[in-house]
């Protein structure tokens, strides 16, 4: 289904878990909360992109599904960033 774009499952897991730990460590301890929160939100978006692409196996050829998921992810990320920065 995914051809050469398919990554090994545990490589994906390691990237997702590492990004989760990094986001948490930054949010808990990084000196600049705005930078930490922004990076944590962007890391969450990148993780979700990876889940769409590798675990859910939805590719850009899957129209209109993949564009819809992409719009959802972009909108959710912007909503969280506005919720943070406008407060």
């Amino acid at each position: 289904m995914t051809g050469s774009r398919e990554w090994p499952v545990w490589v994906i897991w390691a990237v997702l878990a590492g990004a989760s730990v990094l986001g948490f460590v930054l949010a808990e301890g990084y000196a600049s909360p705005p930078v930490a929160a922004t990076v944590a939100i962007i890391l969450a978006a990148l993780k979700i992109h990876l889940v769409f692409d590798q675990y859910m196996e939805v590719h850009w050829g899957h129209r209109p599904l993949r564009p819809i998921l992409g719009i959802w992810l972009a909108a959710s990320t912007v909503i969280l960033l506005i919720g943070y920065w406008a407060a």
Partner: protein, 205 residues
């Protein structure tokens, strides 16, 4: 019979490998997933609007959450999701044993999420923090509660998939069921990724 199933699977997989226009699983599941994710997007809008209106309340409330438990829940769902992805890939290869072990491990690890969530909620309630404490905690309990309902349905789906793989040959129909269940389970995972960032990680300056 098993050879015929293997040939059927090989043929189907060969076709799907060259057909990059059809997503895995059933189209009805994807309609449900999109609708559900749009509902959660509205939750994110509500939360963002509330945070803009009452930043101090939201930050003080966020500090009362245990980020380590949130991280543990994230890692649990990611690990369960990895086993689910393994099960889907094994099903496509017609490997029944690996499919069953993947589904079983996805279920076993996934159940830990229920335990940690119950622990976290009970700790909050014991501290006197509930649904009506303030707007942040209203959203916290409602959003994580609705997500938990999705998790419970996902656990039921995993049980059903294990029963089907045990009962039936691992043909293209079963493969499609597993792909659909996998897509749903990954949705539970990715919604938690957003909730984790939104509720636990947005530390105010």
């Amino acid at each position: 019979m098993r050879e015929a199933v293997q040939a059927d699977l090989a043929s189907a997989n060969s076709q799907s490998a060259t057909d990059d226009t059809i997503p895995p699983g059933d189209s009805g599941v994807w309609v449900f997933i999109i609708a559900d994710m749009c509902a959660f997007a509205l939750f994110f809008v509500l939360f963002a609007a509330g945070r803009i209106a009452q930043p101090e309340v939201y930050e003080a409330s966020r500090q009362q959450l245990d980020g380590a438990i949130g991280l543990a829940n994230t890692l649990i769902l990611l690990t369960s999701g990895a086993f689910m992805a393994q099960a889907v890939r094994a099903a496509r290869k017609g490997n029944r044993a690996a499919t069953l072990s993947g589904l079983g491990l996805a279920l076993g690890v996934g159940l830990l999420f229920g335990i940690t969530k119950a622990f976290e909620w009970s700790a909050k309630l014991n501290q006197g923090i509930g649904l009506t404490t303030n707007e942040f905690f209203t959203y916290y309990f409602v959003f994580t509660g609705i997500h938990f309902l999705h998790f419970v349905v996902g656990i039921g789906v995993l049980f059903a998939l294990i029963a089907r793989v045990r009962k039936f040959d691992l043909d293209t129909t079963q493969q499609r069921w597993i792909e659909s269940g996998g897509a749903y389970w990954h949705m539970v995972d990715l919604l938690w990724i957003v909730l984790f960032a939104m509720l636990y990680l947005m530390r105010a300056a």
